[in-house]
Symmetry: C2
Subunit: 202 residues, 2 copies
């Protein structure tokens, strides 16, 4: 059976839980207490030397880190990842954008606030930079969603799952205010209304 090394508060891990549930794939969930060093212990570092979750381990022992690679792997051959090159490309475009322009800002601000990470001088300056970039990322999403129901291919895909994960909790701990983004809020409701949706706390 698939094993998911997981953490309930992680949006990246939630992506994996959400697609596993949508695809009705049985899996064993191992909750990792990241605040208390569970991902830094030798037995986990043997599985993923970078000490990060989510990590998928398949029956044959294959290890797959990187939340969006997990999404693409579990979506391949389904409607969640279009086969035609043009739509496939746009899904990937948003997956890469999420990891480069969205997650490092929106997820990191949430993590530093909700996990009460020590505010070093670097983090004090970085959090302002990340707030600015996070607001810019929300602006990009708002513009796109004002004209499109979903991010790519004219339908719900893993691009929506990837972007939903941290956007829907962006307000946690005073990180980002979604009030000025009606198109994002309408899209969040559309995503949550998809079949076999589960919440991040499920």
């Amino acid at each position: 059976m698939i094993i998911l090394y997981d953490n309930q508060t992680s949006g990246n891990a939630y992506k994996a839980r959400l697609i596993l549930h949508k695809r009705d794939l049985p899996y064993t969930r191992i909750e990792m207490d990241t605040d208390n060093g569970a991902t830094r212990r030798p037995e986990f570092l043997k599985l993923n030397p970078e000490g990060r979750i989510p990590l998928l381990v398949l029956d044959d022992g294959t290890k797959l880190p990187e939340s969006n690679a997990i999404l693409a792997f579990l979506a391949k051959g389904t409607d969640l990842l279009p086969e035609n090159a043009a739509d496939f490309a746009q899904v990937l475009r948003w997956l890469f954008w999420e990891q480069y322009s969205h997650e490092p800002n929106i997820a990191t601000v949430r993590y530093w606030i909700t996990h009460k990470i020590e505010m070093t001088q670097y983090r004090k300056l970085a959090i302002e930079e990340k707030r600015t970039r996070g607001v810019a990322a929300l602006g990009v999403m708002e513009t796109h969603l004002a004209a499109n129901d979903f991010f790519a291919a004219g339908r719900f895909t893993i691009a929506d799952i990837a972007l939903y994960a941290y956007t829907h909790v962006a307000e946690e701990g005073g990180g980002f205010d979604l009030t000025p983004y009606p198109a994002i809020r309408a899209w969040l409701a559309r995503v949550a209304a998809q079949p076999r949706h589960i919440s991040i706390t499920a």
Copy 2:
């Protein structure tokens, strides 16, 4: 004909040039003077509101940003992006890793040094953080390449193109020293020896 909005010093743009050449696809190259605001002008922002290169524009007007999405789009259906799910997943895993753990550190340090970007207080602290993370990323690559000739699927794929782009110029401007990484250096030579290779300055 495909149009590539390009910049010769950009490793991300080089990825696009390299795969276009490997696939022998004709394209029009438009060099953007990023240092002098070419990507911030209204006519370019209409094509890519984020003002970034590389940007691919197809015959039908489709716009595709994100260097690794460009790689995946142009590799789809070829040996450069395996079709079987297990190999496909590992290629994507390294593409996401490159954009999350490698490029923001190794490429950014190179950019700040070679383009003489003003060292604000934030950047002074950030560059130390990025050097540490960049060295960690090179360590991950060295460990993987000590046991594997290429990053995924047991052969040359777009995962190698993506990681080659900034690794092979990591030393520019005193950024990162590759001397302690023999497996990376051997892999750089293997990548450069692949059919239809071109240099970043070609």
